[in-house]
Amino acid sequence: MFSFQVGSLLNIALILGTVLGAAALLIWVERRLLGFFNDRLGPNRVGPFGILQSVADVIKLITKEDWIPPFADKLPFVVAPIILPIVMLLSFAMIPFAPGVGIIDMNIGLLFVMAMAGLAAYSAMLGGLASNNKFALLGGLRAAGQMISYEVFLGISLLGVVILSDSFSLRGIVEAQSDGWYVFPQFIGFMVFMVAALAESHRWPFDLPEGEAEIISGFNTEYSGMKFGLFFVGEYIGMLFMACLIPVLFFGGWHAPFGLEFGNEIISGLFWMAAKTSVFIGFFVLVRAALARPRYDQLMSYGWLVMLPLSLLNLLITGAIVLMQGS
């Protein structure tokens, strides 16, 4: 029960603690990195290097008024911010962090993850529609349009990986990459997935549902206090999740590059998994600092007319190659 094996209590406790801690740290990391990219300091007052900034933020958010607008639809208004962090945390149950480290190994892990990503869209949509605020409504509409459009090929872009590994289990996919990362045969799939992942988690530059230059804060305009905090934390957990999922699917998960394995395979696996995740977190922050936001119509036609055909093409080519090799 307390050993390193998938599903043990120790695993559950460690993973939940690490994910929550990492998400809180991530808020600080992103702000410091953004500060670095923007030629300024970022938060550096609370604790050494400002590392306790998130703690201060949580204390502030918890003691803020828990306000439900009288004009809002109460139940969906309260439920909306809860959905996002819960589904994002649940998705982590499928992530194989290292051999023997994980919460559950399901044979439909990838489908579970996709289902959770689909549910996450409800968070922004419900929040936007329940607020009875026009900015929130516009944000909710944008979230709906953007997330359902990009969800279509979010799934299709991963089918190449499924074909190669012959598995929906994330652990199976990682194990299948022991002799080569999927990013090379599945480069198109990887690119499409990256874009879709950014759009699904409405990270910059796809932050149209909350694009503040246009619609103030979009779907969460009327949210304050901890309910806003849950949206906020949920977004960071989502970003962390995507940064974990991409190495699992395309970069060999816990497998060390160039045979740089060391010590215990669990320690080595955790180290490389964390290293790869950090690279993608850095990448997400860099994207946020560098790119500009497309317009709604550009986002949509890009998705439907470029990404969708590209992912279908990738799927067919992968299938044909696999069949040719097999016969």
Partner: protein, 154 residues
């Protein structure tokens, strides 16, 4: 294959309890006060006109319909992807035809303008612009990084 779902259920329970716990803590600890304009809807600091509950124009619904069509069809592709080796070339050809129909539908939608979110003015104005844009009368020596401008038309 029979999976023990207990860890997932346990983990899920903890997660849900933690998140709801945060909200409850905030409800208990948060300050409570009401000022004159606390209960107003936020609309840039002035009173709103009209309700946000309105009939919204068609393009938004169209996107939803497109999603349903394409996402449902994607479900079949999921099933094929996991069984590609069993289905073999016959399956591949079937999927090829299936995707071809899908793409034909996409092309039809595109040609009929269903995938055009732009307004007529956006398209017209975009058509009317000339050249690369930007300053036309001052050329820089060599590439853009040169510091000294060459004399313009003055």
């Amino acid at each position: 294959m029979n999976i023990d779902l207990f860890p997932l259920i346990l983990y899920g329970g903890i997660v849900i309890a933690a998140i709801i716990g945060l909200l409850v803590a905030s409800y208990l600890l948060g300050q409570k006060r009401t000022d004159h304009a606390s209960q107003d809807v936020y609309e840039s600091g002035v009173l709103p006109v009209g309700s946000p509950n309105i009939k919204i124009s068609v393009p938004f619904y169209l996107t939803a319909i497109l999603f349903i069509i394409f996402d449902l069809e994607a479900v079949f592709l999921f099933a094929w992807a996991i069984s590609i080796r069993e289905a073999g070339w016959v399956g591949f050809i079937e999927v090829f035809i299936f995707i071809a129909i899908l793409v034909a539908g996409l092309i039809y939608l595109w040609r009929s303008g269903a995938l055009e979110w732009r307004t007529t003015r956006q398209m017209d104005d975009r058509q009317s612009i000339k050249g690369e844009g930007g300053v036309v009368n001052i050329k820089r020596l060599g590439d853009k990084t040169s510091e000294t401008p060459v004399k313009g038309s003055h």
